[in-house]
Point group: C3
Chain length 181, copies 3
């Protein structure tokens, strides 16, 4: 069978490319939905199991705020919408403690807490360090990792790159700020 | 045209299987999004139409709590986020009353109410029985129905099966708890 | 290669139509998810940039309610879940002010405010007119625009068409109300 015949066969399926494009758009939209749902979430990573079960995840979060950000506790009325232990998707036998997800009532409260966390050398629970992080979809985390490599190259060239929420990259070129994607 | 030629043609579309896999992953992700959005919902099934229209769906829900779970009313401050009548997707002429969806502010309150409902022989509104249920996506309900058959077989073999949220199945085999999918 | 051979090749891919159907169903489900997430949102369109930055989007919204719907302010306890400036997806250089998105705690409050806005000749901020609107997915807005043309035809024929939430159309024919899709 020659090239022409092949093209003809392909001609029967004009929407192959179109189909792939629609699948990709759908994937992007689903990723944005996940990020939207997780937008007000804070992840607590590395607090030993057992602690939060005894006291409840929400109570643990209050203790963390008191230990690390007492000024936030006083200044604003930070409201927790929901507090849950994240399912351990990989393997139930892994020795690492499962993450705790705190859904704040307001995105602003999440941002205020994460900003305060970045400004401290470390956050601790009963004196032991752990991590506070935003909560992204698996796909966005992957995209951020990929941007990170490009970020380092741009930084090396002094193009002032920034990673924007949730996984866009901006940099400065010839006096203009450009952003991707 | 022989096998080899066919394979060649298929060779032009190496991502057929890949495409199907991505569609399936996307479908799963969309199902999980729906279950996530519905996670704090309670469905009220079988309360005659008209009742809730006169009083409002949220007020009806308060009446149901008072009639069936007065201890929950006192013990905790159960907060309703949203109360709505579910659209009747099938046929607007069906004589069955439409479901009412109650979105709780906290998932824990939903769980507490459904647990209390399971512990009673029946729940009633003005003395007449109706049903309280979790709110799942169409796809998850389908998956649960499929698990249900397997559940019965495993139960017959005394493997202590359990259906987990939203549509996973666990059972005990040789002293170990296994779960699917 | 003849027709029969082509059919045979197509016979190797029996799920082409099935695949397209699944993609379309997935797209519809994603669109419904977006509309569900945006269901309690109000869009503020046309308030000059700068204003909301100085005062915060939530405070601006309170001012708008006070200026246009003082009765709603007194009558009910309207609660804002979240207030944000919408990202300007098209071009960051566009001179049009970005929309502000207000997520209400209850869908009913959104409906009450939009109803009150429709009943006034115009809504104003510091005396200058702007628009209040529901917040739909891009796909639903597209679908509504398409319905709008059909709507005009039906209206011309006196079939009493209505556009339902989020993008369904109903009309009256031979005494019966019919709706699409």
């Amino acid at each position: 069978m020659d090239q022409r015949a092949r093209r003809k066969i392909r001609g029967n399926h004009p929407s192959r490319t179109e189909t792939r494009k629609r699948i990709r758009q759908n994937e992007n939209s689903v990723r944005e939905l996940w990020d939207n749902i997780k937008h007000a979430n804070i992840r607590i990573i590395g607090v030993p199991e057992g602690e939060e079960r005894d006291k409840g995840a929400e109570n643990l979060f209050v203790k963390i705020i008191e230990e690390n950000f007492p000024h936030l506790r006083k200044e604003t009325d930070i409201q927790v919408q929901e507090a849950q232990t994240a399912p351990n998707k990989r393997s139930p036998k892994r020795p690492t403690p499962r993450h705790i997800i705190i859904k704040m009532s307001k995105i602003k409260d999440k941002e205020r807490i994460l900003k305060a966390a970045r400004e401290r050398p470390q956050v601790t629970y009963k004196g032991k360090p752990f991590r506070l992080s935003a909560d992204f979809s698996v796909e966005t985390l992957q995209a951020r990792r990929e941007w990170h490599n490009i970020f380092e190259v741009l930084k090396g060239k002094n193009l002032q790159p920034r990673i924007l929420y949730p996984s866009r990259l901006s940099f400065r070129m010839e006096g203009e700020i450009k952003s991707f994607p």
